[in-house]
Symmetry: C2
Subunit: 244 residues, 2 copies
DNA sequence: GATGCGCGTTGATCTAGGTTATCAAGCGCC
DNA sequence: GGCGCTTGATAACCTAGATCAACGCGCATC
């Protein structure tokens, strides 16, 4: 896969937000080093690492996670193709979390040296990359709101709405649903629930015809009802054209 | 208050992370418009606003919040003097949350026009401002971990540790504690708990000698025990010298 | 074809934290 | 000095979700 097609999903997402010039597209494509694959279940990035590059997700699905000393694991964001999974490490230097491949992933590195040079030479593109990390923050805030204020069913509904919209933006959803190759236990670590309770809530949503999740494939049964249950408002995903 | 002394707490924080040149200090000071005060309990920023400037907190204490349609309120971050409370609005354009003054606040605006110009002319300073928003994201992630994986007492302990370290970095803590002018109900909206349960947990921590909170003043009784209970690791606050 | 195992499903029981209500202390305000 | 309002403190009761324990099914391995 060429660097320019590898970076395509990111450019597509950025182009929904602002004009991206041919020179900028070229500069982005030039960032990516040789791609490699990581099989499902392996780590893309170890927690605490100090990478000299940021990792771009060309294809697949992965999740940021933190471990607690009492054996817990919290997934703090799910990343889809077109996301930099640790762009913030350019500035944080030390990773505050790890990144796990949920499905087989293809990733490509962008060295911090090249990224830093880009911030010197392409201020507008820098703002667009900055926006990527800012949207990560907005997603985290939204998850905090659902964790703190909504019950298990609403939380699950909200997550499914978010994933649908984000995968759709990356051209990875169908009219009826999307692939979600993770276990119910993984999902519990996203929502702060046990695998058992995730199962019960899934059953409930299935029974009410809102959602079907079978063989790693989510089928939306009733989008309106699902969005209402999850109190889903996509503003925070910032998928609209407003130049920066 | 002059612009240069108003921006001082931000420069101090940045200088813990990287070298900030005199020209950069000057450029930062030049960002701030005339300061104004907002009394405790009022909003600095309405949710959904499209401000033409970002708001810098010169002094006081405020919190980002989101409301849910079922009457809930979640505070997603507490901001201290030296923080930009909505730097991300430069890129998000529309606010995804509101900002509430917990104590009387003095704030100063930095127009998006000036901030954009700064990103054109000061790449290194741009990276330092970018880092500010990246640390916000790291704080959100840490809160997600505590919300999803820790019980009420650990969550409260973690929050107190975080606030202590951040206020200390801003020169606003004493050896023994810090001012926390908010109600137990507010704190419940931070932790995703009810006021009643916050009260129970506070009593428990007080009984165990970890913490005393009286008349808006937190006194740390046993830092080691508190940090252990909250599983607090300050890495995510990124308060160490590592040039970007 | 037997064996194991990951994953989903289900039931029984327990508990952290929610809900509701009450009361007292502090405090500005008339 | 009394009045109303906010905040903290507590108690009684209730529920969402955790915990623990099976069990079944698909699927890979031998």
């Amino acid at each position: 896969m060429s660097a320019s097609s590898a970076i395509a999903p990111l450019i597509e997402k950025m182009a929904r937000r602002d004009v991206v010039t041919p020179q900028e597209r070229q500069a982005l494509a030039a960032l990516l080093g040789p791609a490699r694959t990581v099989p499902a279940g392996k780590l893309l990035i170890e927690p605490g690492d100090r990478p000299g590059f940021s990792t771009f997700l060309v294809s697949g699905l992965c999740a940021r996670f933190s471990l607690t000393s009492n054996g817990g694991r919290q997934l703090t964001e799910i990343n889809v193709a077109g996301d930099f999974v640790d762009l913030h490490s350019l500035l944080m230097r030390q990773m505050d979390h790890g990144v796990l491949a949920l499905a087989d992933c293809m990733i490509a590195p962008a060295t911090h040296e090249d990224l830093r040079r880009l911030t010197e030479e392409h201020p507008h593109l820098t703002r667009l990359l900055w926006l990527e990390t800012v949207v990560d923050g907005a997603i985290h805030r939204q998850w905090l709101v659902t964790m703190g204020q909504q019950d298990a069913a609403s939380r699950l509904a909200h997550l499914m709405c978010e994933l649908y919209r984000r995968l759709e933006a990356a051209g990875l959803a169908t009219d009826s649903g999307f692939a979600l190759p993770m276990t119910q236990a993984d999902l519990g670590d996203v929502l702060g629930l046990t695998q058992v309770h995730v199962n019960r809530v899934l059953m409930e949503l299935r029974r009410r015809g809102l959602l079907l999740w079978k063989a790693g494939q989510v089928t939306i049964g009733d989008w309106e009802a699902l969005a209402a249950l999850g109190q889903f408002d996509p503003t925070y995903l910032r998928l609209i054209r407003e130049p920066v």
